[in-house]
Amino acid sequence: MNKLMKKIMISVVLTGVAFALYQNFSLMPEYQGLNEGLSNYIIKSGLNDTGSLNLITAVLYDYRAFDSLGESTVIFGAVSGIVLILSRKMLPVSSKGLSFIVKRALGIMTPFIALFGFYVITHGHLTPGGGFQGGVILAAISIIFSIVYGSAFDYRRYSPQTKTLFETGGALTFLGLGLAGILMEGAFLQNLGFLTAETGTLISAGSIPYINIGVGFKVGAGLAIIFYSMIQKTFEEDF
């Protein structure tokens, strides 16, 4: 099969997918106002049920928290697989990184990136963001270290063992809150009612902020491990 044929085939398949998606969306029921349906129930009483101003976080970590547990388990599986296949040994890879001008200027910026990551994680139930997003921002710091300072620096700063500790700690926080839901409220991952404070404060919304923190650490450490085990190539020259 030559290249042109390949491209034509890909275009045909993509057009078919686009048509199918369009059909699906056109078959969706008409919007019927704010009175019916599950989404309308969530919009109406989500704030009362969970105390979280951000309804997406309310759905992710309260109504469908079990799904989120599954998602973070998927990340755990991906990390395990990639580490098993790619990283034959967890050794620091030598690399000089970029010039010291870049290193110094990024050194000034890195703490603020980390602080912003923590901000996104802890404000998950009040403003846009949450555990997944903030965790990826934290993982970006590891990528910056590996590229700019060389991966040996990343290894010294926080080694794969530390990252594994963070990841496991995050997962255990999530599971522990789920078990606490069984003990206190009677169902797995039930929102802990006694932790709820006045709406709009940082320590409100039951167990949602703590689940956010756990997921944030887990996702950040997990993605950092994935990236770290992918860069095995050594760069002798600095550029």
Binding site: I10, Q133, V136, A139, A140, I143, F227, M230, I231
Partner: protein
């Protein structure tokens, strides 16, 4: 608003097609990151700030880095 939306959707389709069209992996990755950026703008236009934040961080930032490291591994493996 509608005009901006149409322009962004056209850009989206264009960048997706270009990502498929080029044989060079690097150019495909760059077009994918442009795709994520346009998608972020579209999400923001529809007032889905959460999804926009996730798309910007994961699509434009992390995916690009991981793909880059992956193709550097592959190239190291088979040719030089």
């Amino acid at each position: 608003m509608a005009v901006l939306e149409i322009i962004l959707v056209i850009f989206l389709v264009f960048s997706a097609l270009m990502a498929v069209y080029f044989d060079e992996e690097l150019i495909s990755i760059i077009f994918l990151s442009i795709f994520s950026l346009v998608l972020t703008a579209l999400y923001l236009l529809h007032k889905a700030a959460d999804v926009a934040l996730a798309e910007a961080v994961i699509g434009a930032g992390l995916n690009t880095a991981i793909f880059m490291s992956a193709i550097s591994q592959i190239r190291h493996g088979d040719s030089d």
